[in-house]
């Protein structure tokens, strides 16, 4: 149950409790929630639709979770990513990294998001107020972000 791809919303408190319940070796829980904003490049957004590659998505997310767990000696990891049509203000993704120590939890969580953004097969399509749809372009900044994990640490 490390990774889940679903249309339904997630509950961060439930997920953190599930990872930490009964464990007293976890001193740090870093988490990240990505949300749909109501603008894109300055234009109002009516909705966002997330498509993915069933089967491959789960494999990639599991692989990213395994790599992060080993690299940052994480005690527990959780990734939940939503698919389908979402509205501004809706949650998109939840990533949680647990560790005995704060720096590992923070780094693990950031690493998970950076890798997810550049490797997990999800695609966002934005719907404008007039109903027109546009596929979101990949951001150079996301690829720049991932490079720091190959340079240092």
């Amino acid at each position: 149950m490390t990774i889940t791809v679903q249309h339904d919303d997630f509950e961060i408190a439930v997920e953190i409790d599930r990872l930490t319940a009964g464990r007293c070796d976890i001193g740090a829980v870093a988490s990240f929630v990505g949300k749909v904003r109501d603008t894109s490049a300055g234009s109002p957004l009516a909705a966002m639709t997330l498509e993915h590659y069933p089967g491959m998505t789960e494999d990639e997310l599991q692989s990213i979770a395994d790599i992060a767990t080993e690299r940052f000696q994480l005690s527990a990891v959780r990734i939940v990513h939503r698919v389908g049509q979402l509205k501004p203000g809706d949650n998109i993704v939840l990533v949680i990294a647990c560790s005995p120590h704060r720096q590992h939890a923070f780094d693990g969580c950031a690493f998970l998001m950076d890798y997810l953004k550049t490797r997990a097969p999800f695609w966002k399509k934005e719907t404008a107020l007039d109903g027109s749809g546009t596929w979101v372009d990949a951001r150079d900044a996301d690829h720049a972000a991932i490079e720091r994990w190959t340079k240092t640490n």
């Binding site: 491959m56 494999d59 953004k117 490797r119 997990a120 999800f122 695609w123 596929w135 990949a138």
Partner: protein, 96 residues
């Protein structure tokens, strides 16, 4: 020699899957393709697909914009299809 003949005689079938704007341009989610013997790499498969019609030509007209998975693992377009059962084509990912 016997091996080579056997390989040539075996029909190679792959399921090709399309996502995001690649899917929208081809107008299909997937195709089952019988690979001609001369199609060895994924790049060669892309050329084959581009010849299937107008939407496919549009989808595959700019190969650098397309990312590829072989049996659900990221690979380069120069990779060989080999014994893969599934090839996926899609734009650079934008999740998270």
């Amino acid at each position: 020699m016997t091996m080579a003949i056997a390989t040539q005689m075996t029909e190679r079938i792959v399921t090709v899957r399309y996502f995001a704007w690649v899917r929208e341009r081809t107008g299909r989610s997937d195709d089952v393709i019988s690979l001609p013997a001369h199609v060895v790499t994924i790049a060669e498969l892309m050329s084959l697909l581009a010849a299937r019609g107008e939407g496919y030509a549009e989808a595959f007209k700019h190969p650098p914009s397309i990312r590829v998975a072989r049996d659900r693992v990221h690979v380069q377009q120069s990779a060989e299809i080999g014994t893969a059962r599934e090839i996926g084509f899609f734009p650079p990912v934008t999740g998270g």
